[in-house]
Each structure stands twice: as structure tokens, then as C-alpha cells.
């Protein structure tokens, strides 16, 4: 049984989420998507494929304060799975002020949810005109972009060229790896939003063309920053596993996301991993092509990351 792809849609209040949801629900695209929206959403959407959530967040008991999950999603995704066969995907909308981490963590921490679904992408909508102002006021507005796999800069018709360039730059500086699209009324192709298969990390990391050009680079916005590292040397998997486990245990609260592709000696397939806070998942991805240079890439996004320490630790994991 193929897992159902799940898209998480975030965005600050007024960015255009409802417009996008209505498109997904009403457009004649021949697919059947279930949508989970917040009960207190700005505009009511009435459609039989809409389920209302209450964003019920609770901590897991393991004592780690960042391991919060969404109880409502465990229940609802569990229910939607039963409609299987007639559903092409699930889209979860979160309120403009919600931290996306518990949503993503739910897909890591609840066994049944994890087995039956595949987290497809975190898509963030940004209001081209108001984004800069929101960044100054709101940690959530920053985090939503930081967590994103794709960012849609919407309402471009309301800004001039310079304004759009500033919004683009602000998004890029927060999250250099996200695929960025622009739209005026959320008129992006829906296959860029739903069932993108962008958690195929290969695709995700390669979207950023300058990614490979630099050994490491850092972007920061206030305290949110990203640290990327690459190497053409293979990685000692045991060393890496031990290190990342310990690192996330100690610093996971500050690491919003980490992801990467590793080249493991004598291994046909790439090892891919991704994490949210203290949680990390690893598995084998697509095989390397014969003529392809095997490059390991990792990225950490978070607050107050020690870039130098990360670089040294990553270098220590390389096969000498």
C-alpha cells in the first residue's frame, strides 16, 4: 500500500491560504484531496472534503519539551486513511500563528500515522507586501519560512518590482533551499503544492543551484540561521549517526530542521535523513548514478547554531 502524501500549508494571517484551499477544493483537477483546516480559520470553507481540526497540541511524556504533537492530526489522518483509494492526498492548514513543528513531529512520532502517510512538503504562503513588516514583529512568520520546502510569495500584484525583490531576498535569506514561487492570487500550478514528492531530499537539495558551489555557507536573520555543509568524501555512517544523535540531544531545541544526503562507502544508494528538533529519521534513497559525483550534503536550520563547531564535527565524520 502506497502511503498517502500529506502537505502542510502554513502562512501568516492574510497571506491567502483560504484562496489556495478553495482552489484545491473546487478546481477541476481530477484528483481528490482531503483538507484539514482550523476551526477558527478566517473564512469558513464548506465542502464535504474539509475536516475541522482544533489544533490540539500536547507534549509527549518523554520529558523533551520540544516533542509536542498534534492529537487532532493523529485522529484525523487516521480517519482519512480509511478512505484510501479515493484520496490522492491530504492537505493540512495551520493557523497563521501556529508553530509548524508539532505538525511535522506528529508524522515522525506517531507510529500509525508514520506508517500510512508520507509527509510530502511544508508549503508556506507569504504576503509579498506585508512580509517584511511581519518578520520584524513575529517569530512565527520567520519560523514558517524556515520550515518550508516551498515558499509561495503571493499578492505580487500589490507590490512594485523593488518590493517583490525585497520579499524574495527576505525569504532567500531565511531559507536558501526552499523552492520559491510567485503568484498574485495563489495561481500557482497545484502540482507545485500537492504531491510534490519533495521529501525526496535529492530533489529538494538540488533546487538550490548555488548549493554545491560553496563548501559551507551561512545565512542569518536575527538569530535564525542555516548552516550547510558539503563534501565529496564519503561519510562514516556509524560516526555520523552517533554524532547527530548526541548533537540533536543537546541542541535539538534550537534546531528547527536538519536534512541531508550522505554518500556511504561501498553503498549503491544515497543515505537520506531529515529531522525536526530532536527527532531524526534516516533511510536509503535513490541509487547513485554511475557517472555521478557522490557528494554528501547536510543542512541545519535553527537558532544560534555554532557554525564552526558543526563544520568540525561534520569533517570528523568523513572517511579519512
Amino acid at each position: 500500500m502506497l502511503p498517502i502524501p500529506v502537505t502542510v500549508l502554513t502562512g501568516y494571517l492574510g497571506a491567502g491560504k483560504t484562496t489556495l484551499l478553495n482552489r484545491i477544493l473546487t478546481e477541476n483537477h481530477g484528483k481528490r484531496y482531503a483538507v484539514i483546516v482550523n476551526e477558527f480559520g478566517e473564512v469558513g470553507i464548506d465542502n464535504e472534503l474539509v475536516a475541522h481540526s482544533d489544533e490540539e497540541i500536547f507534549e509527549m511524556n518523554n520529558g523533551c519539551i520540544c516533542c509536542t504533537v498534534r492529537g487532532d492530526l493523529i485522529r484525523m489522518v487516521g480517519g482519512l486513511i480509511r478512505r484510501k483509494g479515493s484520496l490522492d492526498g491530504v492537505l493540512i492548514e495551520t493557523t497563521g500563528l501556529a508553530d509548524p513543528a508539532p505538525v511535522i513531529q506528529t508524522f515522525f512520532l506517531d507510529q500509525e500515522t508514520k506508517e500510512r502517510t508520507a509527509l510530502d512538503a511544508v508549503v508556506t504562503l507569504v504576503d509579498a507586501r506585508h512580509f517584511e513588516g511581519q518578520l520584524g514583529r513575529s517569530q512565527e512568520a520567520r519560523e514558517q519560512v524556515v520550515f518550508a520546502d516551498a515558499v509561495i510569495i503571493n499578492k505580487t500584484d500589490l507590490v512594485d518590482e523593488a518590493g517583490l525583490a525585497r520579499a524574495l531576498e527576505a525569504v532567500k535569506s531565511l531559507n536558501p533551499r526552499a523552492e520559491v514561487m510567485t503568484s498574485s492570487r495563489c495561481d500557482v500550478p497545484l502540482d507545485k503544492v500537492l504531491a510534490r514528492r519533495s521529501f525526496d531530499l535529492m530533489k529538494l537539495l538540488d533546487i538550490e543551484p548555488d548549493f554545491l558551489d560553496e563548501g559551507a555557507h551561512e545565512h542569518s536573520h536575527d538569530t535564525v540561521q542555516s548552516v550547510s555543509m558539503t563534501s565529496d568524501k564519503p561519510v562514516d555512517f556509524e560516526k555520523f549517526k552517533t554524532w547527530i544523535g548526541e548533537y540533536l540531544n543537546d541542541h535539538g531545541q534550537h534546531v528547527y530542521r536538519c536534512k541531508g544526503i550522505l554518500s556511504i562507502p561501498d553503498e549503491r544508494q544515497r543515505l537520506v535523513f531529515q529531522g525536526v528538533h530532536m527527532l531524526v529519521e534516516m533511510g536509503f534513497g535513490q541509487p547513485w548514478k554511475e557517472d555521478e559525483s557522490r557528494v554528501s550534503k547536510v543542512v541545519f536550520i535553527g537558532r544560534n547554531l555554532d557554525r564552526l563547531a558543526l563544520q568540525i564535527a561534520f569533517r570528523d565524520c568523513l572517511v579519512k
Binding site: A51, N61, K84, Q111
Partner: protein, 343 residues
């Protein structure tokens, strides 16, 4: 498409073409109803085997219970609580817009039915035909149970369990238990309440002393709990074997369960204890259905083609029939008397 196929003496199978959510027998055990993931209800004649279908819900039919006067009540993710008569006529009982009516619990005599709708619980007195609301609870309701005598309603949610005394108007008793609690089950004498927990744990509460037995570290989330007919053992899903916790011995130090019929490759996904004899049905994620004997602690697999996880199990009130539902849309009915007669 839904013609009955006899697998072996006492074992009949139907193809219902949709995820089987839940099963319920009519009060006289002459009908079996199955709630299906595509919004239909399948009604099966016992013993004739003839199946008919009624489209009741827009989305999935999530819960089903027998009405004491005949017919069935069902809840769906369309927020509809419906009554379907045995001739297939559907009528609306109530509607909770935007809510999923998944959790339902009936009293032993079938006269009282509790239905969860978000943070609220709708309590139906099916004899009088009245509705009452209980709540709101601290979180969305994740499980319901009515005490065997029918006087207490247990409601699980994030952060604990709420106990309502249905005979008085007073405030409910709230017992705190961190995390998401689910699948409450009263012991047959009503003195214990067992619950599952999101984080692969089980709790048994001694309702008099309020002592709690906690068991953590299960292989999976225990989403169904049930008591042996005599209340001597608690069983739960989420295990790789049939596990029976002796009660009240489990409240002493180092309690040990009785475990048998280990399934290496699967975990228990459905469970129902026979209400009258020491038997239980245990369904697993690989499609195995075991008939567990709780006196000798041994289990026998039913001759069902494996493959699809078992999603629903239920015994008739008389304990003579057991219904199994599978995720791939198969339903199997066990006639215990016929099977035992054939040896």
C-alpha cells in the same frame, strides 16, 4: 459481489469492497451490521448470509451500534448520527456540523448510547428517545465507555479521563493522566477502568482506591482494550502476542502477564473478548485472527486468508457469533457453535 462464501464449518466470508471500520450485532443477534469506510452500512442476515447495503454517510461511516428496538445507529465523518432500520430506511437522529462521530459506546442493556462529537458527548436514552449533552471536556474526546450497570460514563481525552455520574447532576470526576488517553474499558463488575495511551502504554485504575497500574513500552499504541468475561484479565492490542494482565494481581510489585501465541511479524490490531465464556478474538496486522482461550491460555488461528490488517472485531451479546472486518473490505462471521460442533 457480496455473496457469502463458506470457508469452513462455522466460518463465512463476504467481500464488502470498503474498509471495515466497526461491526455490531443486533440485539437479537439475527443481523450483523458493518460500518464501512465509503459511508455505507452492510447489513447481513444471520444465519441466511444475505448481505444488503445502505448508503448512510457522505464520507466514512466511523461507528455503529445496535438500537434495542432493532436497526442500527451510526456516526460518520460528515457529522451525522443516523438511524438505519432493518429494511434500510435512513433517518437523521442529530447532526454535529464539522465533527467526526467516531467514538460510540452502548450500555450493556443497549438502552443508553454515548456518542462523541468533538469535546462534547451526546448521550442518547434510546428507550425514551431523549438526547443530553455532556461536556465540554478538556480535549477532543478520544474514547468512551459506559459502566456495565450503565450509571457511569468514562470519557478519555488529552490530559486524563472524565467520569460522569449519569444519575446525578453534579460535576464530573476528573482524573489527570498526561498525554492522550484512549479506548477506556470498564471491568465487568465496574470496579476498574482500563485505558490505552498514545505513547504505547496501558493504565488500569482501581476506581475505589484510585490506584493506577501503568504499563509502558508496548510495541505499538493499544487502541482496543477488553476484559475477559469474568474480569480476571485485561487484554489489549498493540502487542505481538495475546497478553493477559491479571487483575488485581497487577497492582502488586513486579506483575507478570500471561502471554501466548507470539506473532513475530505482526501486532494485534483488533480485539474483542467474549462476554459470556473465557474466549477472545484477536486480530493482527497481517490478517491473522486468533481465537484465544482464556482458561488454558492457548489460541487457534481461524482459517482466513491473511494479508490485510484486521480492523474490526465484535462478539454478539450471547457470545455465539464473532464478526471480523478487514481493511481490504472482507468481513468474516464465526458461528462458534457450528465450528465447535464440527470439531
Amino acid at each position: 459481489m457480496a455473496a457469502p462464501v463458506t470457508i469452513s464449518p462455522g466460518l463465512t466470508q463476504w467481500e464488502l469492497q470498503a474498509y471495515v471500520e466497526q461491526a455490531a450485532f443486533s440485539s437479537g443477534a439475527d443481523k450483523l451490521a458493518l460500518a464501512l469506510g465509503d459511508g455505507r452500512i452492510a447489513l447481513i442476515d444471520i444465519p441466511g448470509g444475505e448481505a444488503s447495503f445502505v448508503k448512510v454517510h457522505q464520507g466514512s461511516c466511523l461507528g455503529i451500534a445496535a438500537h434495542p428496538a432493532g436497526g442500527f445507529l451510526s456516526g460518520g465523518d460528515d457529522g451525522l448520527l443516523a438511524y438505519t432500520s432493518l429494511d434500510g430506511t435512513v433517518s437523521e437522529v442529530t447532526r454535529a456540523k464539522g465533527q467526526w462521530l467516531e467514538h460510540m459506546a452502548a450500555s450493556r442493556d443497549g438502552r443508553t448510547l454515548a456518542v462523541a462529537a468533538g469535546r462534547e458527548v451526546i448521550l442518547l436514552n434510546l428507550e425514551v428517545g431523549s438526547l443530553a449533552n455532556y461536556g465540554p471536556h478538556a480535549g477532543t474526546v478520544s474514547g468512551l465507555a459506559l459502566s456495565p450497570a450503565g450509571g457511569v460514563l468514562a470519557v478519555t481525552h488529552t490530559g486524563g479521563v472524565t467520569l460522569w455520574d449519569l444519575d446525578s447532576q453534579g460535576e464530573p470526576i476528573k482524573l489527570d493522566l498526561r498525554g492522550m488517553n484512549l479506548a477506556p474499558a470498564f471491568s465487568p463488575d465496574g470496579s476498574y477502568l482500563a485505558m490505552g495511551h498514545q505513547e504505547n502504554a496501558v493504565h488500569i485504575i482501581d476506581l475505589e482506591s484510585r490506584k493506577v497500574f501503568g504499563l509502558a513500552g508496548l510495541p505499538a499504541k493499544p487502541g482496543r482494550l477488553d476484559w475477559s468475561h469474568d474480569g480476571r484479565h485485561l487484554l489489549h492490542t498493540g502487542t505481538k502476542a495475546v497478553i493477559c494482565w491479571p487483575v488485581p494481581e497487577c497492582f502488586q510489585e513486579n506483575p507478570a502477564p500471561v502471554a501466548f501465541s507470539v506473532q513475530e511479524e505482526a501486532r494485534m490490531s483488533a480485539l474483542a473478548a467474549n462476554p459470556r465464556i473465557p474466549f477472545a478474538g484477536a486480530g493482527f496486522s497481517d490478517g491473522t485472527v486468533l481465537l484465544a482461550e482464556l482458561k488454558r491460555f492457548a489460541a487457534y488461528p481461524l482459517e482466513i486468508v491473511p494479508g490485510s490488517p484486521v480492523s474490526a472485531l465484535c462478539w454478539s451479546a450471547q457470545g455465539l457469533h464473532m464478526a471480523c472486518g478487514m481493511e481490504d473490505g472482507r468481513a468474516v462471521l464465526l458461528d462458534l457453535g457450528e465450528m465447535l460442533q464440527a470439531g
